[in-house]
Symmetry: C2
């Protein structure tokens, strides 16, 4: 499926900023580092930042068994996830036309506990490699005790939408003659040079996955 | 009040990472660019990214009157806000001890419509200056029509907590002898040089607030 259905829940009000294209949605999810995951507990909305991974149309999050968010979500309740990439400040001649350039995805779905051992393993690989592609294979093997101590939750990308803004401010036509400065300030997420663990054994070079990451600045 | 009360709602499970100190919470809020705002609509959790501003213990968000989030929140329903600053990747010798360095604030409160004209004006100044301190005064004056077209919502910081992780990975003691690389990769939000609006009049220099912003890299 290339285009996701537009529903009451995922419809973006400003149509020109919306996309329901699966490839667009996946690309934003793959570039983000943190998903904000919302759920309802005793009538209260709760939102928490989580690292995540994606395999096809499944978003995986994980954590210690005692984590409140995971204890709630594993009951199979509705969840909403947002991933937002901030691309710049948009500064109009009027405060009213200030904005941000961004790419954002909202996902609505029902959370489920991942109890299949193979799916759980694959999900943990995806979450680790999401931070730095190839990192899982550089680590020492996961133990059964570690797998047992970790809860993994999946949310299927069912109802979802991407929303984005790009480009210059859109000022009121009569304001373009004014002497107020207007423009944009690009914003990016910068990865600094890797810092060795203070207890790293002598002579171990920075891992390949991390070298590649440091050369990226997205 | 320097320390916020610890309640069932705002209590952070891992105590060593938690702070209920008002100054700590405010500092994180003031550095963030986007708040993730969650609410419940017809039983469904919804979370959306919003720009925001802070005045004392009030968080303000704003938007067009037709915005779903604002139409819901102005009814005075519970809201949860999260602001997260990502400071780095934490890469242990085991995947299990991978993590992120971050500073994050969660706020639980009841949203209210700001209908007092002076408070609404002050809130819009705070939201604009949050993007770039001093920017409001550089813009052309807000019109009454613009004020009327904008909805402003306040959430009081009542129940809130900060959560943070810093420093190196904490590996299992027996793993420190392994030959796997471990360490951290710092992450920062970088502001690029300002780009003039393509319709900017000749001879207008970049605004002072924006020059200062460009020299910051937080």
């Amino acid at each position: 499926m290339d285009q996701l259905p537009v529903t009451k829940l995922n419809k973006v009000r400003v149509a020109k900023r919306a996309s329901y294209d699966e490839a667009t949605i996946h690309a934003i999810l793959d570039e983000g580092l943190v998903a904000h995951v919302a759920f309802v507990q005793e009538g209260q909305p709760i939102v928490l930042p989580m690292v995540y991974g994606r395999i096809k149309d499944q978003i995986y999050i994980h954590g210690a068994k005692a984590t409140r968010l995971l204890k709630q979500l594993k009951q199979g309740i509705p969840a909403c996830l947002n991933v937002t990439l901030v691309d710049g400040l948009v500064l109009g001649r009027s405060a009213f036309h200030h904005s941000m350039n961004f790419r954002s995805v909202n996902i609505h779905g029902t959370a489920r506990l991942v109890d299949d051992e193979q799916e759980k393993y694959d999900a943990l690989v995806a979450i680790t490699d999401h931070l730095a592609p190839g990192r899982w294979d550089e680590c020492r093997d996961m133990t059964q005790k570690e797998a047992n101590a970790t809860t993994v939750i999946a949310v299927t990308i069912e109802q979802a939408a991407a929303k984005a803004r790009t480009g210059m401010p859109i000022d009121d036509e009569e304001d373009y003659v004014l002497d107020h400065w207007a423009g944009i300030v690009p914003i990016s997420t910068a990865f600094g040079p890797a810092i060795n663990d203070c207890r790293l054994k002598d002579g171990i070079p920075v891992a390949e996955s991390i070298k590649k990451l440091t050369n990226r600045s997205a």
